[in-house]
Amino acid sequence: MRIILLKLVIIVLFLSSINSLYADEKESFNIGYYDLEKDIRYDEWGVHPVDIRSNTNQLYKRPIAGARLGLKDIKPFQRMAKVKFKLMSLRIKNIDTAANDILNHINSNNIKIILLDLPVTKLLNVVNKISNLNIAVINISSKNNELRSSNCNQNLFHTIPSERMLSDSLAQYLSDKKWRKVLMLTGPLEIDKAKSESFIESAKQFGLKIIDNRNFLLGNDPRARDQNDLDFLTGSAKYDAVYVSDTHKEFSYRVPFATHIPSAVIGSSGLTPRAWHWSYLRHGAPQVHGRFERMNQRRMTEEDWAAWIAMRAIAEALVRFKDNENFSFHDSFVSENFKLDGSKGPVLSFRKWNRQLRQPIMLSTDNWVTSIAPLESFVHRENNLDTIGIDSKTSKCSK
């Protein structure tokens, strides 16, 4: 009896040692994800005014959903990468301590690479604070042009397109259609003004004519009707298109079919440039947003896509380059051989000069992708995707 028991113990011990062997085989690879509890971009408006009366959970709109789908999608890469992916997130409560909180989280959790969903000012704080760690940072939501043209950091990569990529896409479309005369309506926020400035640059590059740039205000005050009444705002001018920059969207939703003369509406409503739209049907996109919707019970936004593709970029770099001597994400991402599949058609890669992911932009209405930029008639000497966005010659980042 004793002998049998002993044998049993030995067998159990042996089996458990096998188990632990298998468990230890793949080391854990920790990916950090950081966002803010209070973030104006996820407050109130943004999807549709009716949302404020619905039960939609505001936090639920956050692009961490895209990162979670990304984690699920890169799990099959584990067999090849020989690591176990883990997504470790932290929602920061106090903006003032954000950079320190993130630094501590990285250090105490052995985090290898991070995704940031932060507005531009906070983002730079964090990137500067952790720059000694030499850890790659992927920006998944800030479209700020300066981050790609002057205010750069060697550790900072972007999977979300810049404002300039989006405005260039619109300008290409208008130019292609020969709708060259544009009236601009600009909102009151700093970010609205930045969007409009980006569009003015794009208009210059693609030969559009800005008829006028008018500021709008949301409200019904009859004394300010030149700024809140669409007939006044879009009157006494001749144009082919009206461009609206309105981050909150409450105003811009009213513009299509309400202009003084018949006109296309572009920008924050009407034809909107986006990194991703759920209505796209080609290049395997329906499979991606199908997986996203089944997982999250909502449509996939462009920020979701940017977080998803960031996760894929991490897996792709590990699978292809992990065995290289002196492996680093910094070098792998900008390597000639780094090719990423974003289910948008062409192969995607990072621009060497500002570490921006080059990618097609979907020009879409609320339920259809009307066109994809770059448009066929715009050709670049090296990569047609570089006809949109800040090119190597204008970016000061590589210098």
């Binding site: 099959p76 090849m80 499979q287 997986r291 792709e316 292809r320 990423l340 062409p346």
Partner: protein, 329 residues
């Protein structure tokens, strides 16, 4: 007197023999095309290139395989989650196979008894008994968005291309196990074995290359690159194969570039590029290797290519978004 009797008989026999010959030709030599946009199958006479019939299939018909023994055509109807069994004599759907979700590409075992299909949305492969139409087993975790499916010529294993994982996953469909996984280029779409079965060729749509895998060692032994003046590398998006029956050539459709590459299978050299239509995807070749037929997904037509001249000799408008072409001889 006797002559008068024999003569008409002789003519009748001759004519009826001729009619038989022609009609059997019409029945036997056909081209079938699945149109995923218009949910139908176009049937074309291989000799006259006339459209004989357009028959309704299930929704979103994609891959097809012909089974000579039962004279039936199996058609994956992706949106209906089934494979239609179409009787090629009556041109009616006479049955359906269980497939699991969203079947796109499938293959038939060499003995004709079993089908294996990729379920793109579920990351699974499903093994189906063709006779009963029932699922035998489901193999999970075959990578993200599995697409291409090929039985090894000996019927032992199935090679599956995983678009989202950039790998080829080799499964044992009889045991339901994953045997091996091979990293290839970006977005592997379809595969094909060479004639002796010692190589598995894979199109990497986004990588713009073809990986040649040694089926004994499961290692990549060669990567084929495509270059043509006037075509940007980003437009070279290889998708489907037609391997010549003599084993010497591979015809590879290059999607967005509108061309079909001709590759020497003995030394992997690209010999030529043949102009076809917009987004050229599906491909099939006749038994005598003289005619190649490709589907052009974005121009709703097919191109008939003379392989001696290496040029398109005819294009035929078919249904919307033609996907797969098969030749029944």
């Amino acid at each position: 007197m006797t002559l008068k009797i024999i003569k008409p008989n002789f003519i009748i026999i001759f004519i009826s023999a001729l009619v038989l010959l022609i009609s059997s030709n019409v029945k036997a030599d056909r081209v079938v095309i699945s149109n995923e946009g218009s949910d139908d199958i176009t049937i074309i006479d291989l000799n006259t290139y006339e459209i004989l019939n357009t028959i309704e299939s299930g929704n979103r018909p994609r891959d097809m395989h012909y089974i000579p023994g039962t004279n039936s055509l199996l058609v994956a109807a992706s949106e209906d989650d089934t494979i239609n069994v179409i009787d090629m004599k009556t041109l009616k759907i006479i049955g359906n196979l269980e497939t699991g979700d969203d079947p796109e590409i499938f293959d038939i075992s060499p003995d004709g008894k079993v089908a294996v299909v990729s379920n793109e949305d579920d990351n699974e492969a499903t093994v189906i008994d063709i006779k009963t139409g029932k699922i035998i087993r489901v193999i999970e975790d075959v990578g993200i968005e599995p697409e291409g499916v090929n039985f090894t010529p000996d019927g032992k294993y199935v090679f599956i291309t995983s678009e989202g994982t950039n790998t080829i996953i080799i499964i044992d469909p009889w045991k339901g196990e994953i045997v091996e996984e091979v990293l290839v280029g970006n977005r592997p779409r379809r595969g094909a074995f060479n004639k002796n079965g010692e190589e598995y060729w894979v199109t990497n749509e986004l990588g713009g290359t073809v990986s040649v895998i040694d089926t004994n060692t499961f290692l990549i032994k060669h990567t084929i690159n495509f270059e043509k003046k006037g075509i940007r590398s980003s437009e070279i998006t290889p998708v489907d194969f037609a391997m010549s029956n003599n084993g010497n050539l591979a015809y590879i459709t290059l999607g967005r570039s509108k061309h079909v590459a001709v590759v020497n299978t003995n030394n992997y050299e690209v010999i030529d590029y043949i102009l076809a239509g917009s987004r050229v995807w599906g491909a099939a070749i006749t038994a005598d290797d003289k005619t190649l037929i490709v589907t052009n997904g974005q121009s709703d037509d097919i191109s008939i290519i003379d392989t001696d001249k290496r040029a398109s000799i005819k294009s035929i408008a078919v249904g919307r978004t033609p996907h797969t072409v098969r030749i029944i001889e």
